[in-house]
Structures are given as C-alpha cells and as structure tokens.
Symmetry: C2
Subunit: 468 residues, 2 copies
Amino acid sequence: MQFEEINQDGASVLQQVRDENGMISQELFQLIDDAIEARNSDLLVSLTQDLHEADLGDIIEALSPKDRSDFIELLGDSFDYTALVELDDSLRSKIVESLPNELVAEGISELDSDDAIVILEDLEEEDQAEILAALPAIDRLQLKRSLDYPEDSAGRLMQTDFIAVAPFWTVGQTIDYLRETTDLPDDFYQIFVIDPGHRLLGTISLDTLLRSRRPTRISEIQNEERHFVMVNQDQEEVSRLFERYDLLSTAVLDEGERLVGVITIDDVVDVIHEEAAEDIKRLGGVGDEEITDTVVATVMSRMPWLIVNLATAVIASQVIAFFDGTIAQMVALAVLMPIVASMGGNAATQTMTVAVRALATQDLDKFNMLRVVSREILVSIFNGIAFAIILGIIAAVWFSNIQLGYVMGAALVVNLFFAGLSGILIPVGLQKAGVDPAIASSVFITTVTDVVGFFSFLGLAGWWFGLM
Amino acid sequence: MQFEEINQDGASVLQQVRDENGMISQELFQLIDDAIEARNSDLLVSLTQDLHEADLGDIIEALSPKDRSDFIELLGDSFDYTALVELDDSLRSKIVESLPNELVAEGISELDSDDAIVILEDLEEEDQAEILAALPAIDRLQLKRSLDYPEDSAGRLMQTDFIAVAPFWTVGQTIDYLRETTDLPDDFYQIFVIDPGHRLLGTISLDTLLRSRRPTRISEIQNEERHFVMVNQDQEEVSRLFERYDLLSTAVLDEGERLVGVITIDDVVDVIHEEAAEDIKRLGGVGDEEITDTVVATVMSRMPWLIVNLATAVIASQVIAFFDGTIAQMVALAVLMPIVASMGGNAATQTMTVAVRALATQDLDKFNMLRVVSREILVSIFNGIAFAIILGIIAAVWFSNIQLGYVMGAALVVNLFFAGLSGILIPVGLQKAGVDPAIASSVFITTVTDVVGFFSFLGLAGWWFGLM
C-alpha cells in the first residue's frame, strides 16, 4: 500500500511498510529489531523518519517489551510522541513510566493538546506532576485545565487550539490571517465566529470560505451553530452527535457558553471504536482488558465475572438438587436436562444481543418498544413450538419413551418463552435502572434460562411420571 | 440540544427536536403524527422543513409502518430523500418499494451519487431498472457503473463528484474556479491533482490551499498521495485505512489507476458501525438481523443458529448418556456437572471475546501471537487452580464427601485448561482457514467445554469411585 525510501548504509532501498494484509512488514520489522540490538541510533532514525505515527505505533506494539523503551530512547529527539497515542492504554502507560520524565516532557511539548492529554491522563500522579512542571507555563496551564475535566468527557477529548474570528471580518481578512499566522493548529476543518466575550456565534466551513469572494463579511456566510457540546458531556454522547449529523468537528463550550475547544472526527472515530469494543467485551464477560495486558492483570479482570458465573451456576444446581430423587429414578432426565437449558440460553442470548445493540445505538426507544417486545414474544413462541417438536421426537426415539418426548417438548415451550421474554426485558430494565445492559444482562439471563430450564423439565417429568 | 422555529397556524412556536436523552421529542412526534392523520401536507412541510436528515430518518422509524409512506407522499417534493439513507436496510427497501417509482426517481435525482446507491442497491431488479430509466442519462450511467461494483466495495461507497485540478494551476486560479463553479459537490475536504490521463498526482487539503498565496503553483503545495483505495477493495479494508491514518477523505482509483471517486469519513463512520455491529451480532448468534425486522425474518435468521446449538447440545448429552450408570449410582454428579461445564464455557467465552476482537482490529498478529497464547495458557492454569479449590470445597461440604471435592477440583483444572486453549486457538484457526471467527467460534467452543467438562467430571468420578 505504502512505500518508503530508506537510506541504509548509504544505499537507497525501497522498503514496503506493510504487507498485503495491512500488517507491518516482516522485513522492516527485522531491520528495526536488528538496529535496536546494535544500538544504532542513526540507522533507526533513517528507518523510521518518514513513517506515519500509526505505523510507528504498530511497530512499538510488535517489539518485545524490553525493546520498546530502548527504541524510543535510541530515537531521542527524532521520536514522534504521537505514536504513543496509537497504543493500548495499559501499554502506553507502561512505556511512558519506563522513560525519563524530562524526555517525556520534551516529547509532549510538541504535541496537540488532545494528544498530550491522552499520554498524561493515565500516568501516576507523581510522574504527571513532574512532567507538567517541566513544560512551558502556558502549555502546563492548558493541560492542567483539561485534566480537571472528568475522564471520558468532551473536555478531555477536545483540542484547545482553534481558529476563531470576529463576525465583522471579511473573507479576505480571514484568508490573509490564515496565510500570515504560522502558529495555526495542524489541521482544521472549520473556523469559528465569536463575540468579544468568546461566545460562539457561528461557524464557517473551509469550502464556504474558499467559495466566497474576498469582500464578503464573515457574518453573511456564517452558519448559525446548531451542534455543539458542553465541556462536561460524556464522550459517548459526543460520538452519537457526530454520527447522527455527519459532523467533521464541533465546538466545545464551557458553562458560560464560551468557546473553549474543538473536537474533531478523528478523535471521535477512536471513541466509536472504544465504545463498540467495550460492548463486545462486556457481553463476553471481560472488563477493560486489552490484548497487551499481563497475566496478572488478565486474571484480575476476568476473575469477578467467573465468580458471578459460579454463583449463578450453583443456584441452577440447587434446582437440580431439589429433584435428585426424580433423577435417581430416571437417569435419562440428567442426560436431557442440559439440552433444555442450553437451547434457552442460546435463544435468550440472541434476543439479548439484538436488544443490547439497539439500546446502545438508541434504535430501541419508546416509539418501537411495544412493537419489539411483541415481536420477541411471537418469535419465542414460534421457536418454542418448532424445537418442542424436533427435540420431543429426538427424546422419544432416543429413550424409546414417547411420554418423555411430551415432557421434553412442553419444557422447551416454557423455557424458550421465558428466554425470549427475559432476553428483551432484562436489558431494557437494566437500562432503565441506569446499569449498562451490556455488562449485566448475560448473567441474569443465563440464570433465568438455567433455572427455568431445569425446573420446568425436571418438575414436569416428576409430575408426569409421578416421581416426585 | 437543538431548536427549530415552527410556524403553525400562523403562530411561531419554539419546538425542541430531541429531548435530553437525544430521542425525538414526544411533542414534535405527536404534531407530525396528527398532521399525517389529518393529511395536512402544508403543516407537515412546515414542521419538517428545517429538520436535519438524521432527525427526519428517526421520525420515519418512529412512525407506525402504515404511516411511513403516507408521510413521504404527503411531503411530496419537500421530502429530503437523504433521510432514507439513515434507515435500516430492511426498513428502507420496504418503504421505497411501497412508493411510486417515478416519485423515487425524482427524489434520488437530487442526491449525491453515494446516497443514491444506498437507496438503489437493495431494491428488486425490476424496480431498480424502472427508477434508473426515469433518471437523466448522465446520472443513470454513473449510478449503473457504481452498481456494477461488488457489494460492500469501495466502488459502492464512493461519491463520484469531486474536485480535481491540474498541477500547473495556481492557488489563485483554483480559488477562482471554486468561487465561480456552482455545481460543486455539497461538501469536500480536499482537492485532487490529476494529469491529463486522469491519473492521481497528489492532493491538497483545504487548509493548505487557504494558507497559500495566490501565485503559488498547485504542484508546489500538493501532497504526494500515499493513501488511496482501489475501486474493488472491501469496505472493511477501507475503514481500517481511514482509522489507521486519521483520514478525512481518500481517492478511489480504478484498475488503470485513474481517479474515479472519493470516499469521505462520514461514510466510513457508518461502515465502522456496521462492522462492529456485525461482530457483536455474530458473537451473539444472530445474522444480519435488524431491530425493524418482521417476526418471520427474525425467526428465519435465528433458526440456523439454534439448530447448530441443538446439534452441539445433543453431542454433549451423549457424553452424559455414556456415563448414565455412574450417575444412577451417585446423583450428586448430575447436580454438579453443569457447574463444571458452565465455568468452562464462561472462561472460554472470555478468552474468545478478546481474541475475536483483537483479530478483527488486527491487534493480534504474528508478532504477538506466541505471547498471547502463552498468556492465555497461564491464565487458564491459574483460574483452573483457583476455582478447583473454591468449587472443590463447595462440593465437598455440600455433599459431605471430601472425595467428591477432589474429583470436582481435578475436573475444573482440566476443563478450564481446555477452555483457555480452545478460546484462543479456535478463533485463530478459523481466521487462518478464512472463516470469520466471530461467526463460528462460540459454537465450537461451547462444544469443547461441554464435552470436556462432562467427560472429565463424570469420567474422573466413575474411575475414582469405581462406578464405571
């Protein structure tokens, strides 16, 4: 996809950065790995100088843990700290903590404020304070203010450099200002119009500015700003606004409605990813785990979920224990009971997955709730009848006992009905109670389907065959 | 968040479009619903004329199925067809099919080409042909060519209107061209530089153009374009490129390396969402299901997964049936065996979730494979020992049988080990075999943990207590 000219030992080598699958190329990685081994700074600099920060980030992830900080220290001034922003949180803080604080301070002084915040926010307080102290006063104050905003808020996400002009300026004046000012943000997608009190009056997109004639007044071409976020708003709400209205960037206002920053789409794309990953992980019963976590961190993050599962499994077992006399008289019940529970668990998971996803994207709301709940009930009745017939026949034939087929079928109808109902009502209920449905739904749902599954099958069998 | 001035019966009403949760406001919805009931076109037009397409789309979703096409027909010329792009696929095609084809043709003739494709691509061939035939020849040819590209390819995603200039133009000439041309794309983020054969030479971002002086030659300020996609590339690869390099828009080239279109970040944000939703749904065992699907469509999409689950549940049951003699002599085994299986299933799901996610984002690759697999093995050995102790004690105390505690503990160590191993190796193996790990992993994994769980627990018990 992308080629780089690399000067190695005076010779010019055409080097591919990524292979056809989009992975960092083995050849480039080997060259870098050898250069670290040889502690050859100059070679490392020439190998990496034209790399995009994303490529540099992926190379750091691919390196062995002990080579990572060596790599950065060998690169020295030539290392682009934006590459650290591309890493997993846990990996980033581990690397940053292994580097001398003065080196980090020097590195982040060249970053945009939003990138600097990403690097600073997860550090231990002591390191954070030391790095901040080594920065120029103006940067320090700005970063400190951003760090005061709550985690995952718009204030943390925003970039505090932006371009704002007065409404009485002309297009020509604005363009001249852009041409003459050297200290502009790296990329910008719109220009803000503010009053003397820093209150936001409107915005102008760059293409509007380009299309307008020089004498035109800014106030004539500005859009009244209809989309903005407050500095304390959660990043999930921010990303929803971007997606809904296809925004490229949006103004961030403080409590006094003053313009304090701008959030751009590239940061929001990361948030969308994070939020989707969070839902997937929560549904799978893993916390904030990342692929780069250590054994201990992984055990710690998974343990609570396994303990919760242990508790629900014991509850389900107690239902079985209640019917131990019944099972002792008819072992076929022990063979078939996991099928009833498992079908219920699966059907409920299907419903829950759709519900959790729709709640997260706000596609399930008061307008269609009744429609969706009715649909789930109808689907579960239909599935219940279909699988009652299939599994009833299997059970009857397997154990040459047609009565057992009836009991199996009846238990499936009951369990799949409760599965469908809990699959939709539990996530909705949790959301209403202010709990993230992705985090808690599956625990409740497997408890319901196991308990109802074992109880309905063993209970019906005990009653039907008179084995209680 | 957002306010609209609505003129109703001559009075000016300040109307909020969304409530504090970001949902369409009940008041606005009621006004629209009443206006449809009363078939009051004028009122509907005034209620909706200032709405963003995303708001309009959400209102359509909130309406009852029979009101949706009435709403669009009542709005007539004033309906903005981009709102349809915001809807779920199945809902959109249902609505479009219920509208007269001439009306649809008129509506989409005003759309950008990428939006028109979204509306056209899911229609039945006959409707598609009729709508295309009613369009102006130049639009028709362009759309037909886009429809020839494979589904989910860059060619379907791209917008075919873009701005391209020659390298010998000056900044001044370019700006004048932008000012004088009225038929420009709605939004654009960069300008392309092409040679006379339409081959891409480079790009210029709008802020570079704004910052440069008028006599500057385009060739002096163009970026060499390092990121582009081919027209047949899959949208997932396209979105990965955007995310990796924080792109706002990218050129699309055909086989002859000619510039044929441009893909912008707003389309990619939708792709990112789709792909994340796909992974979540596949992990949950539901296909391409959407919250607006009918009962029949939902049953059809979920049935295959339930049948697969049925098959694996029957396999696990056969393991139990193999030990029916053992269970008959010791019913406590029937009570405890689901706990062993369930703990394994949960531990494996945790590992699988992390693995599937990391494979999807290319965070699990050849560089860290060995590290991650070793970590998972260590984690599962640790979890195995920890839960062997906890559950061994529970089993021993519950049934006042210390021997049963030993058996329970040993079975857990075995099952959690296989759970961890299969949780990582099955997704990786499926990916290598070219199968989406999100789709198939959980089936294989629950089969492994059920079979190993029942076999190790019942087998160890039978051997230990001499009950075989």
